[in-house]
């Protein structure tokens, strides 16, 4: 690949991000001007806690996605192991596909009644639980191919060497699965981070995540704030992607 093609490709990939960044600091952009007429950081000052409260949305989204990804990854890792070694493995695994037979929004509509009764409607806990309905089965499906007879034998070996089930997890299974756990965590974080329909329906606007704010600004045709929110929306996944590459891919890949 020539140097020019490389630069062109990188430029092509980076253009949408650069464009969003430019829009976020722009004001007054009448047609046919190539660039906005005014440049200001006032939109970004909103992040630090203006009336728009975008800073709170960032914190809320980070907290929600980290919680969802952590809970789902841990829980699905443990449950998938039990499913993998169960005599009726296929039947249990097919249940994990159930939430994906419907769209997440339809699933949310089905769950709505129960969330109202439980007092979880329009709460942070409600949205977290609702997102788990999507991310937990995804995690189970993700880890279903991870477990095999070799790992099972290793687990048995730990026991005959005197280890408890907890020690088998802590000293062998989790370290061996480190790469898979990180990848699953990253994917589940992204699912939660960009989730819109289910969050909107169960949160009823009272849990304003960053993704909801982007849609809100787009609906209001506020392109400058929408661009700013989009920039913020991209930052955490990019940071996580960098961390994933730095931690997982530099380390030894283990079976």
């Amino acid at each position: 690949m020539s140097r020019f093609t490389k630069i062109a490709l990188i430029g092509l990939i980076l253009f949408p991000f650069a464009f969003l960044l430019m829009l976020s600091v722009g004001r007054q952009w009448p047609y046919p001007a190539v660039f906005p007429e005014q440049w200001a950081l006032s939109n970004w000052q909103l992040v630090l806690g203006g009336s728009e409260g975008l800073g709170n949305s960032v914190l809320l989204s980070v907290l929600l996605s980290l919680s969802v990804a952590t809970l789902s990854t841990g829980l699905s890792f443990w449950v998938s192991r039990h499913i993998a070694y169960h005599p009726k493995r296929e039947a249990w695994l097919s249940l994990a596909y159930f939430p994906y037979v419907f769209a997440p929004v339809i699933l949310a509509a089905c769950l709505q009644f129960f969330f109202i009764v439980a007092g979880l409607y329009g709460t942070f806990g409600g949205v977290l639980l609702a997102q788990l309905f999507i991310t937990f089965p995804y995690g189970v499906i993700f880890f279903s191919s991870f477990w095999n007879e070799r790992l099972r034998s290793m687990e048995e070996l730990v026991k005959t060497l005197g280890g408890s089930t907890l020690q088998a997890y802590a000293k062998v299974l989790v370290p061996v699965a480190k790469g898979a756990l990180m990848t699953c965590f990253f994917q589940l974080f992204l699912i939660s981070w960009f989730e819109y329909g289910l969050t909107n329906l169960i949160g009823v606007g009272k849990v304003p995540t960053l993704t909801l704010r982007v849609f809100q600004y787009v609906n209001e045709a506020n392109i400058f704030l929408a661009a700013l929110a989009s920039c913020l929306l991209i930052l955490p996944p990019v940071a996580l992607l960098w961390l994933n590459r730095a931690v997982v891919f530099r380390e030894r890949i283990v079976p």
């Binding site: 070799r150 034998s153 290793m154 048995e156 070996l157 730990v158 026991k159 005959t160 060497l161 005197g162 280890g163 408890s164 020690q167 000293k171 062998v172 370290p175 061996v176 480190k178 030894r252 283990v254 079976p255």
Partner: protein, 244 residues
């Protein structure tokens, strides 16, 4: 002493082990010869506590093992594959059992280094499992089992995946270490020669039943072990060479 009385095990209505009884004296190695599917692995897994018997009694030095979980039996089960922990180096793989028991660092270093020396692995201490040969991996697996001084060691065709030369040297090494450390062990194999070489006593497993032989001669005399057939083959081959 390990005392096994009338062990029975069924899978989906099919008997895998039938009224199996035998005793294993302390510091003795029992070789069990048997074809695939004869129930050898099931027997070892029941002894290790990884599976449960439908009926029967397991006594180790007079203690009933049935209610004792696998991690408290002191019986280590070794697989055909070395199953070294891929995230740990050779030293840490061998030290694994001691770390589980939270032993002091000085004791761990002393014991592991001594064992690595005995297993001819001192140069490999800081290598990762994928940097080792098949024979070296199996030696590390032995070290990992021996470091905790197991009451009984169960070996399920441990040399099955090794080439002939490595297999021979591993047999000699295990025999020597077993003698030095006074191991109590059951060695399961489908290789006739290996069974005869490794065992102080010999047994033959067929259709879920185990026959223990009183002596080597008795084992050879039994047609079902295949020892006589094997001997005849080599004698015939030898005669054929002489006539040519």
């Amino acid at each position: 002493m390990l005392d096994i009385k009338n062990i029975n095990k069924q899978y989906k209505g099919e008997a895998v082990l039938q009224d199996l009884s035998f005793t294993l004296q302390a510091h003795e190695m029992l070789s069990i010869l048997g074809r695939s599917g004869s129930g050898k692995t099931t027997l070892l897994k029941i002894l290790a506590g990884l599976e449960t018997a439908d009926r029967g009694q397991l006594l180790l030095d007079g203690q009933d093992l049935s209610p004792v979980p696998a991690n408290q039996r002191g019986i280590v089960y070794l697989y055909q594959e070395a199953l070294l922990f891929p995230h740990l180096d050779v030293f840490e793989n061998v030290a694994f059992g001691l770390r589980l028991r939270h032993r002091p660092e000085t004791e761990i270093k002393k014991k592991v280094n001594a064992l690595l020396q005995r297993l001819e692995l001192p140069e490999q201490a800081r290598k990762m499992p994928e940097q080792l040969s098949g024979g070296q991996r199996q030696r590390v697996a032995f070290g990992r089992a021996l470091i905790i001084e197991p009451r009984v060691l169960l070996l399920d065709e441990p040399f099955g995946a090794l080439d002939t030369e490595t297999r021979r040297s591993m047999q000699q090494l295990l025999k020597r270490v077993a003698k030095d450390l006074g191991l109590t062990a059951i060695f399961v194999t489908h290789d006739l020669k290996e069974a005869m070489l490794m065992g102080d006593r010999l047994g033959m497993m067929q259709n879920g039943q185990l026959k223990i032989y009183g002596s080597r001669a008795e084992f050879i005399a039994d047609e079902s072990t295949g020892a006589r057939e094997e001997a005849r083959f080599w004698i015939d081959l030898h005669d054929l060479k002489l006539t040519k």
